[in-house]
């Protein structure tokens, strides 16, 4: 006899996610993932200036900020056949890398660590042993016994106060916490340190994009002119700051994040066999080295893997009608031609129609429609997107840089490659690609300097900025790899205006409800068989869910106020 439990709100994520799970004999037997908020941005975009779209869709997400804006300008540039100058591509790449560095560190420490690190248990640690341990895994300077004992003293007073703030009602003392007190203390100390650090790396975005969150992008390039002899443009001072930030960021990732990740992972190797889920992985690829249109030059290669078979990587074509399709069998929408067919985004249609229980409610009717997210499929397959997918595709494509970091991690942890297909693998992959992006960021930075030194100071191509130069109609697709996975936007420009704008975003791939065949998407599949020691405390559930780094705000679909079906307009959530 199974028991239904509800986790809502799932905290330490972006947005609003609800999980309902059936538990039997201490394990999850069935699970349902529901996005419970919509904003319907694509209808708002209709009729607007395509050059403005990046600002609207940038507001889809303030956590993986910048990434929708990047995708949007690419989408418009694709439609208008604009090639951005090499420097603009490099600046976008550098912003991409610094975004990963920020987002992944914040995810690990502030959104995920408390699933593994018992804050209260850190009080029992011996500061001297903690210091020795910290110094044995990293040369990060803040690792003295005094440093750790001071933190411990503060935490003790804090816990004794009974007023726990953000630590209130945490799962402290739960049997699923396995770390020695000393590792808990290191994790806690670095939670605090990472909070201080994270505000620095985003300054790269402020230099190139004026601010963060939500830096500015530009169709045709970037707005930050290179001007080495003027205080207003990118000059030696501005560039030196970027270089310093990237270097410091790389140091933090290599000396704090990765040692902590490996230390913590070594005590949770059993989670290398939990939360695997689908075994299908999809990557659109990003970080061009030879122009955005040359997929073979991407640092993150594109491709799809099915059934955990890394010996075969399939190519992906976003424009082909039979590849990416969206279903709404269990989503609060209606299709004109029936609820059970899948539609390619170009031919998509959506009319939002909530049919769930009237709030306040206890349970969703999971046999019917139960989410605002649509259900995307690739050639009919449910696919996982995100860091694990990227690392696996890079590995499967035989890329040396991926092989190096993956093999080292597997050796250090003494686990087989199959351990990657898991909750732990997902969390580890995020760290491994952080190492890579930190290295690549500096490579791109060096190339930018070399270009400028060689006299190339172009940053934007404005020849097609004037709408009068555009064709009457144009179609475009823009893609990227958001920190949370494969992301693409589709645009249809008519008479200089947006006739249709669609987004299919990473968390939609992962967090969507079942499809027309009852097949689960990644979250639901990954939760199956997850052990739950205490039904009243959903610690194991949020471990696996957090390993995906949910970002729900983008659960946005089209809606027609008159109740008419609108063809070729749809969308989903990051």
């Amino acid at each position: 006899m199974s028991k239904r439990i509800v986790v809502d709100p799932v905290t330490r994520i972006e947005g609003h996610l609800r999980i309902e799970a059936d538990i039997e004999n201490g394990k999850i037997k069935d699970a349902y993932s529901s996005g419970t908020m919509v904003r319907l941005l694509e209808e708002i975009l209709r009729g607007r200036d395509p050059r403005d779209a990046w600002a609207f869709v940038g507001r889809v997400c303030g956590v993986c900020t910048s990434i929708h804006s990047l995708t949007s300008v690419r989408c418009v540039e694709d439609a208008l056949d604009i090639t951005v100058p090499a420097n603009a591509e490099l600046v976008r790449n550098i912003m991409f890398c610094s975004q990963y560095m920020h987002d992944h560190v914040v995810h690990f420490y502030h959104l995920h660590a408390m699933d593994w690190v018992d804050v209260v248990n850190a009080l029992k640690a011996d500061p001297k042993k903690t210091s020795e341990l910290a110094q044995s895994i990293s040369h990060w300077p803040k690792s003295s016994p005094g440093y750790f004992s001071d933190i411990q003293t503060r935490i003790k007073k804090f816990v004794d106060s009974g007023q726990l703030g953000i630590f209130s009602n945490g799962y402290w003392g739960h049997s699923a916490y396995k770390l020695p007190a000393e590792v808990n203390l290191i994790g806690l100390a670095h939670y605090l340190e990472a909070l201080e650090w994270q505000k620095e790396i985003v300054k790269v975005h402020a230099i190139f994009g004026g601010k963060n969150p939500h830096p500015n992008y530009l169709v045709g390039g970037m707005a930050c002119a290179i001007s080495i002899d003027d205080v207003s443009g990118l000059n030696a001072e501005r560039l030196a700051m970027v270089g310093q930030l990237l270097k410091d960021g790389k140091e933090f990732i290599e000396q704090v994040y990765i040692p902590d990740l490996m230390a913590i992972a070594s005590f949770y190797k059993d989670w290398g066999a939990v939360g695997g889920g689908l075994g299908n992985y999809l990557v659109y690829g990003d970080l061009p080295t030879n122009g955005y249109r040359d997929l073979t030059g991407y640092k993150f290669p594109q491709g799809a893997i099915l059934n955990k078979d890394v010996s075969k990587v399939y190519d992906v074509d976003l424009k082909k009608e039979d590849e990416v399709q969206e279903y709404i069998t269990h989503s609060w929408y209606e299709y004109k031609g029936g609820n059970d067919k899948g539609l390619h985004p170009w031919k998509g249609e959506s009319k939002v129609k909530y049919s769930g229980p009237k709030p306040p409610f206890e349970h969703l009717n999971t046999n019917e429609k139960y989410s605002y997210l649509k259900t995307p499929r690739w050639k009919g397959n449910a696919m996982e997107v995100g860091p694990l997918a990227r690392v696996l595709v890079g590995y499967a494509r035989g890329r040396e840089d991926f092989k190096a970091v993956v093999d080292k991690a597997l050796t250090d942890l003494n686990v087989p490659i199959t351990a990657l297909f898991s909750t732990l693998g997902r969390t580890a992959a995020r760290g491994l690609e952080s190492v890579l992006t930190a290295q690549w960021g500096l490579e791109f930075f060096d190339q930018l300097l070399a270009n400028i030194k060689n006299g190339d100071t172009r940053m934007a191509d404005s020849t097609k900025f004037d709408p009068a130069t555009w064709p009457k109609t144009a179609l475009g697709v823009g893609h990227t790899e958001a920190p949370r996975g494969a992301l693409a936007h589709w645009i249809n420009i008519e008479d200089q205006k947006i006739a249709n704008y669609q987004l299919v975003v990473p968390t939609t791939w992962n967090a969507s409800p079942r499809d027309n065949n009852g097949k689960m998407s990644a979250y639901e599949a990954a939760l199956i068989d997850t052990p739950v020691a205490d039904e009243t405390q959903p610690l194991e559930i949020i471990r696996t869910i957090h390993s995906f780094d949910p970002c729900m705000a983008c659960a946005v679909h089209l809606y027609d106020e008159d109740g008419k079906t609108i063809s070729r307009i749809s969308v989903v959530g990051d």
């Binding site: 003295s144 804090f158 945490g170 994009g209 930050c224 207003s232 705000a553």
Partner: protein
């Protein structure tokens, strides 16, 4: 070691670790005895002198006269900590992200150490029923005494089902949590004016907080997102004075929203001189000329970007070459195309069109160049002449 300690304290306080608060429940009627700012500062090893320095800094930071320093010190010495509930509705979490980027270390430290962040879906350890229990606890125990921070708008369409948390609509939750709030802070443009989801045709009927809650003081802190230090500054104002900051006629703190980006912009002299970027990455862009002609909304936008700047003073949109998009203004998404020059800028007279603006610019150009010539008087005549010529060309284009 001293540095190390200071660093740790800074870090700790960023997490709102209310280590010295007494266990609650001792007295249901009043707040538990809580340390004052001064006690806290003293305990952390800062000297009285440091404290007064901080108070002076805060005084300047929140835009008060020097004579108010005494008042600030007194407030900091006597005010208790403040429980804070932070709700997320229709939003993208950029406000929370901006808040954690607040960068004046000691100011941010003490600010964050002064609040007890009892409910925050972004940062709290607990999920589900445990999270709801934490919320309920604060609602009951600190009734009438907590600050409610709201990030996001509330959809009224379809009886509120477009945003639900824990099986309730955001509208139901907003009413519940605002009832016992001492004051409400509407973070960002979503909560204060609806932001992107309320742009036409506003399909979910996304609604800002002040249109729903009428019986509480509401501080609007618009911007997408607001600057992190501005968010911190708003909180410290409340804690310092025990009352909400002085607001303008639409509810924004005057300290941060009383000046137009245009009036505090370092590129303003180029506007006055009629020197404009004509297209992105052109020669004028490389010279840092005014971005008005490529759509800058600085002339109609009230925000602190030109002064406080972003990310620890690193830059702000105009400094990085992109026009201000006016993200702190109501209806900024429906205010015409982003890259077209403004048509109805406040300060240029009512409903001034681009041509009128051009004429104003024309007059300003003459004045600025004359002033510049008098000030420098020698040696620069060639440069001025050149600028003047460029300015005339721009004016010509503005008029045409």
């Amino acid at each position: 070691m001293a540095n190390d300690l200071t660093h740790i304290y800074k870090l700790m306080s960023r997490l709102c670790l209310d280590d010295t608060q007494k266990p609650s429940g001792m007295n249901n009627d009043v707040l538990p005895k809580q340390p004052t700012y001064y006690e806290e500062v003293e305990r952390k090893g800062y000297s009285r002198r440091d404290f007064i320095k901080f108070a002076s800094m805060m005084t300047a930071f929140i835009g008060l006269e020097q004579s108010a320093i005494g008042q600030v010190i007194k407030a900091l010495e006597t005010q208790p900590r403040m429980p804070v509930i932070w709700m997320h509705f229709q939003e993208c979490t950029c406000c929370s992200e901006s808040f954690i980027r607040s960068s004046h270390p000691i100011v941010a430290d003490i600010l964050l150490d002064k609040i007890s962040l009892d409910y925050s879906e972004t940062l709290m350890a607990a999920s589900g029923t445990q999270a709801e229990a934490a919320l309920k606890n604060t609602l009951e125990k600190y009734k009438g005494k907590y600050i409610l921070c709201v990030e996001g708008s509330v959809p009224l369409g379809a009886d509120g089902v477009y945003c639900m948390i824990g099986g309730k609509t955001s509208l139901q939750i907003l009413h519940e949590v605002s009832e016992g709030a001492a004051a409400i802070i509407a973070w960002g443009s979503c909560a204060s004016n609806g932001c992107v989801q309320s742009a036409k045709p506003n399909p979910t009927q996304a609604t800002p907080i002040h249109k729903i809650i009428k019986n509480k003081p509401i501080i609007k802190v618009p911007g997408c997102p607001p600057i992190g230090e501005v968010m911190a500054g708003v909180i410290v104002h409340y804690l310092t004075f025990g009352r909400i900051p002085e607001l303008d006629n639409i509810g924004r703190p005057k300290a941060f929203y009383s000046k137009r980006v245009h009036d505090t912009c370092y590129r303003r002299p180029f506007f006055d001189a009629g020197l404009y970027v004509e297209s992105f990455d052109d020669e004028n862009a490389k010279k840092g000329y005014c971005l008005y002609k490529v759509g800058c909304k600085g002339p109609s936008t009230y925000n602190a970007c030109g002064v406080t700047k972003w990310n620890g003073g690193t830059s702000f949109p105009i400094q990085s070459g992109h026009p201000c998009i006016g993200c702190s203004e109501e209806n900024y998404w429906d205010n015409g195309r982003m890259y077209e020059r403004g048509s109805a800028f406040a300060g240029f007279g009512i409903e001034a069109d681009a041509d009128t603006v051009g004429k104003v610019a024309l007059v300003a150009t003459g004045a600025a160049i004359a002033g510049h010539a008098i000030a420098t008087n020698i040696g620069k005549s060639k440069l001025i002449q050149k600028n003047e010529e460029e300015g005339r060309e721009s004016e010509h284009e503005l008029k045409s």
